[in-house]
């Protein structure tokens, strides 16, 4: 038996004109397949909506509160573990130096001042080199290359700012 177009009408829940409805009714009188399709369509349409047991919202609020507490606890523990491990690692690395400093503080003080002077001298020399380069660069680098470099630097700066904003922006609610 040819079920078309009746099967398609039923499957698509097509809105039927009076003439189409008459045609369909006539077909349904002789076709079990389409009758069952029509019947299941009616059954599905008449199926009721099931509501949850009373107090659903209250149970949700309790669950949400529990989730928030668990989340806070997880974060606190995470922070504690991070601090303890950080301090431990720092202590492990610094232990020989601390020990040496305690053993001979004068020697350490001299070494620290020497290191500080070295850093200052290095920075001064570096800034001198940069100044010389800045004076010479326009003679060697074409203007368009300079533009490209400045744009790249601006792009990097933008990425950096956006990254900081994204990391510092906290979404609402409990994070998973």
């Amino acid at each position: 038996m040819n079920h078309q177009p009746f099967e398609l009408w039923l499957l698509d829940d097509k809105y039927l004109s009076a003439a189409e409805k008459r045609e369909l009714d006539a077909h349904l009188r002789t076709c079990t397949h389409c009758t069952t399709l029509a019947k299941t369509g009616l059954v599905l349409r008449s199926a009721h909506v099931v509501a949850p047991a009373a107090g659903f919202v209250l149970r949700f609020q309790q669950r949400l509160a529990a989730q928030k507490i668990a989340e806070r606890r997880r974060r606190l523990w995470g922070l504690i573990v991070l601090i303890v491990s950080g301090v431990g690692l720092l202590g492990w690395f610094a232990a020989p130096y601390i020990y040496a400093f305690i053993a001979s503080p004068i020697e350490w003080l001299t070494a620290s001042i020497g290191y500080f002077l070295y850093v200052v001298t290095f920075l001064q020399a570096f800034s001198e080199i940069l100044k010389v380069l800045a004076r010479m660069a326009p003679n060697f680098i074409p203007p368009y290359a300079l533009m490209v470099m400045l744009s790249a630097l601006a792009g990097l700066g933008l990425i950096w700012v956006v990254s900081i904003w994204r990391f510092s922006h906290k979404p609402q609610g409990v994070t998973a």
């Binding site: 069952t36 399709l37 199926a47 099931v50 509501a51 949850p52 919202v57 949700f60």
Partner: protein, 202 residues
């Protein structure tokens, strides 16, 4: 901006009270979807609660251009599909009541027509048992179509499918349901016949 959008916005800004309003409004549609998907009230309750928790957690991702109900039900449907895929349920509960009582309508013996109530109950159970035989995504599509009157486009958006895929899934599911209905009808007829012959009156 309507009331619901205002609640969503307030909830996005951290108002738990506004979110509670949304839970109050959508508890029944979400529970019903979960119940139709999972088949058991306890599982449905858990899934519905989890749906609202996930919604709360990801509220900042909600796009105001989309209807909130569609977004919410899509979360529920995906959660149920995942859950069904993780754990293949051996059987749907055919019991028509839960421990808390009021999630189901049992046939009322004191109602004016208990027989009609009983038939309605049987039909409900049949729909329920037929749904379990469908593929998870087909089931979600059928529920969205017939319980929530979603268009094919809305179903496609909710289930992340193409409109043509939704259409073919709905057709396939409807044919499958019709086949199952037919089988059940034949079984019922055979059972009635058997009882008729076994009856001591004959």
């Amino acid at each position: 901006m309507n009331e619901e959008q205002a609640w969503v916005l307030q909830a996005q800004q951290g108002s738990d009270e506004a979110f509670t309003r949304l839970v109050e409004t959508y508890q029944t549609p979400v529970f019903n979807l979960c119940y139709r998907m999972l088949g058991e009230p306890e599982l449905a309750e858990d899934a519905a609660q989890e749906t609202f928790l996930r919604t709360y957690q990801h509220l900042h991702r909600y796009d105001q251009k989309r209807p909130f109900a569609t977004w919410l039900l899509s979360i529920a449907a995906h959660y149920c599909i995942d859950r069904l895929r993780r754990r293949k349920f051996s059987m749907f509960s055919m019991d028509a009541e839960d421990e808390d009582g009021n999630t189901f309508e049992l046939p009322d013996p004191n109602s004016p027509n208990p027989e009609a109530e009983s038939i309605k109950g049987q039909t409900r159970d049949r729909v329920h048992s037929m749904l379990k035989d469908l593929d998870e995504t087909d089931r979600a599509a059928i529920i969205m179509r017939y319980w929530y009157d979603y268009s094919e486009i809305e179903i496609a958006e909710s289930l992340r499918l193409t409109v043509s895929a939704v259409k073919s899934r709905l057709h396939r599911a409807r044919k499958e349901l019709a086949g199952l209905w037919q089988e059940q009808e034949e079984d019922l007829l055979a059972e009635m016949e058997r009882r008729h012959h076994e009856s001591p009156a004959f």
